[in-house]
Symmetry: C3
Subunit: 357 residues, 3 copies
């Protein structure tokens, strides 16, 4: 590989993450690694006290460790949150590749498009009429940017992405390969003869700063208004965001989840993988939705709650019910045994009463 | 934006949708909108009587309302089915963008391909050997059209779609970005050593007129015969259609549903999102399958039925069973209490009989 | 179509599959077909004795039949495993199309890339710096091959695939259209203010020989190590393979299944469609996981077991519990009836004892 090597001393890295150096701070670090595969010149991290024994044997030249857990004789950085510190260090030592400003000769840029001089437009990409591509944006191979699209500063658009007309992306948005933003929402009206007519899908999509969207995910344009994804939200591969959906800030959505039209997910929610949400539902601030959950149309998931199952229930209830679900055969057998006992009892009792008479 | 403005009088639009004008029919309409965001010159619709109060405050210049619900002092069109009327009006006022006939200089068209002079072929598209592209078809950026493919009149193929060899599309078919038509079906045969050999996937795909397929969806080619999608069927994003599947006319399939090999879905069915269907199943005419349902291989879903759950059951039964599912902890407690009572009873009864003797 | 016609005598084909000729071995076969659509010159297969009656009416010129099931008066090949024999015959009569070695004039090949002279690079494809494309590999239209990628001999990369930097593919790997290999895994670390920071996703992906990956599927790069897919494994459309996942050899994974980070699937497993696996789970050698199953994070599925449901249970148990699940309303009614009887009984019993005193 051809990447420019970044070099930092342990002292510098510690300062960067507000960590405390224990051991030699002058050690030079050039690469990141995990504990097992670490070699001379690398920095690795120890997530918690349990991982410390593994750390002893690591060949990393520097270890980021939990506070008060420095290892005797090793160069360490003590940090409150070692994994976070490691992520911040990685941004310095292993920054994303930045292509030089250029428009590839095989790219097609509409004469009315406005591409910043510091942007990169790769091979076979297309930039539409009146589109705006901001400073230091990178538009990779084969990407289609439609008419009137706005791509903010520092966006990273991976190969073969499609952005339909009129979509707006904020700054530093990352779209992975194969993402489709702004395709028509799924809305039809049936006539008396049974034929489906397309309901107009002429709204748009707005994606705010620092959103990242995984490979082959889709965000549909609104029918008439705006489909919106809030700042700092992270969306995994294959997620389907329907028309007119509104997603707040700092929401995390795992792979293969689907969100139907006009549903709202408020700030700071965490949504598992393969979740399905019906239309016009609302997941309130900070709620957590377990993987494979199903949310019915119009359902409200309360702020801060944790829900699971199809349809969703509070996690405690879900766990309790599922425990009994596993005991169903036993319950059935007990029930039949009881029925037998009660019938036998009845017959003895009636017999006794007969005797009494 | 650069779209040509369409202008129609309310009288003209009413005639178009068989509606009745109430109020001023000479008002000029140029755009569509929803009630909340409507402005001067727009037309909006009122779905039902409940929405009428919202309509009072709308700034739309014309409202499409349910019959006998015209609003005093406003320009209205009374229609039997306002949402449908609105969809039809939108087709006139906001028609899909139609690119001028052209073949982009960066497109590659095989010398034996037959592209109609009225068609559009965008930047970086490829048209294969002996392929046929019909009149007014639009093949957008980066699309791959394989050898011997047939694209009917008026088709709209969005960017970065892949159509493998030998696939046939009817007229006015819409394929959204990232769609893949005609990839190999998933079929292998295992040998004695455990290795998998590809079962031949050499059939094809036929998609009939007026089908629309959502972004990143896939329709696999048949192993030996034809995978077929009937006229007027609408398929949402991420839907997976396996090899040799047959889908009838006017079927609707929501996002992320998967249909395994050789399954048949008859006309007029409605299939929810994230449904899974095993192979060789059959969903008969007009059936409705709820979101996240699972249909076992070979299962027949009866015509006109509504099914739900994994595995599917009639909706009524599904609802009833699920209600009891939620009461499982209570049932368990009741059962244990009964067992206690019966045991106590038994002991009293036996004691009494001992006394009797 | 323009395919070169392959011609083989029944005798030759029988030798190829270790079959026994019954009837005329000199019949010339040029095409494969299924029983129903077979015509003069075709070969078809009869999977088992049940299908023999259908075979009687088939117009195929040769039938591959189970051993000791040759049909009187027809040219037959008796084979131990007719479907496998048919698959092998199909490889000869209907081999995959092989494009002539060439680099399309619209492709962009980095000056430091190494493309074998026998490889094909299609229109609008891109080959990155220091990438290696092996002998007879076919890189189709619009494909992006990143820097330092290695594509082995005989790989077939369908249109609009994206392979990120540093990924390695073995020999004869097939990637269908829209596949994305090596996109960033989904990993973030939250800071005290609630913002998500990207955990470094700087590992890679290794895909071994003879793997086939279906359309629009994704395999994410490892955070720090390697995401690996073993030799001979077959993956269907829309499958999501998370970062650091390890999949063994000869594993089959059906469509729309998602596998979270660091999960391991050992050799010879069969995974159904729409399955979800949490992170750090392990599916041991030869296990079978039913469609729509859900595997919790960290769960171990035992070697050779068959599991089903959410969360997974052994198939026998799953079936038993589900049978009782269907009887829940009946159980509830029985339970209430028993409660009534016991209460009545209690009242009679207490009354009798009162009498006795």
């Amino acid at each position: 590989m051809d990447e420019e090597v970044k070099e930092r001393k342990v002292d510098e890295l510690a300062a960067l993450v507000n960590g405390r150096v224990a051991g030699d701070g002058r050690v030079v670090i050039t690469r990141i690694a995990d504990l097992e595969n670490a070699a001379e010149g690398t920095i690795a991290f120890v997530e918690d006290a349990k991982a410390l024994s593994l750390a002893q044997e690591s060949k990393a030249s520097c270890l980021i460790v939990p506070e008060d857990n420095a290892i005797e004789g090793r160069s360490c950085i003590e940090a409150k949150h070692p994994k976070l510190a490691f992520a911040l260090v990685a941004k310095i030592l292993r920054p994303p590749k930045q292509n030089q400003p250029a428009i590839d000769r095989t790219a097609v840029v509409h004469e009315t498009a406005n591409v910043d001089a510091s942007a990169f437009v790769g091979s076979g990409a297309y930039i539409g009429a009146r589109a705006h591509v901001g400073a230091e944006a990178q538009i990779h191979h084969g990407v289609f940017i439609g008419d009137d699209v706005r791509i903010g500063r520092g966006c990273l658009i991976h190969p073969n992405v499609t952005v339909y007309d009129n979509v707006h992306l904020g700054e530093r948005v990352i779209l992975h390969a194969g993402v489709v933003i702004g395709a028509d929402g799924f809305g039809y009206v049936r006539d008396a003869a049974g034929a489906y007519h397309k309901f107009p899908q002429v709204g748009t999509v707005e994606i705010e700063d620092d959103v990242e969207i995984g490979a082959n995910a889709c965000v549909d344009r609104a029918a008439l208004g705006v489909t919106r994804i809030g700042r700092g939200t992270k969306i995994d591969n294959f997620v389907q965001i329907g028309h007119n959906v509104e997603i707040g800030e700092r929401v995390v959505i795992a792979a293969q989840t689907g969100i139907s039209g006009s549903t709202v997910i408020e700030d700071d929610c965490v949504i598992g993988g393969q979740v399905g949400m019906g239309d016009h539902a609302r997941v309130q601030k900070g709620a957590i939705v377990g993987s494979k959950a199903g949310i019915l149309p119009g359902k409200i998931v309360r702020a801060g709650s944790i829900v699971w199952g199809v349809p969703v229930r509070p996690l405690d209830e879900y766990k309790r019910i599922n425990a009994y679900f596993g005991r169903l055969p036993q319950m059935y057998d007990e029930l039949q045994e009881l029925r037998r006992q009660v019938a036998e009892f009845r017959s003895q009792f009636d017999g006794m009463n007969d005797t009494d008479q």
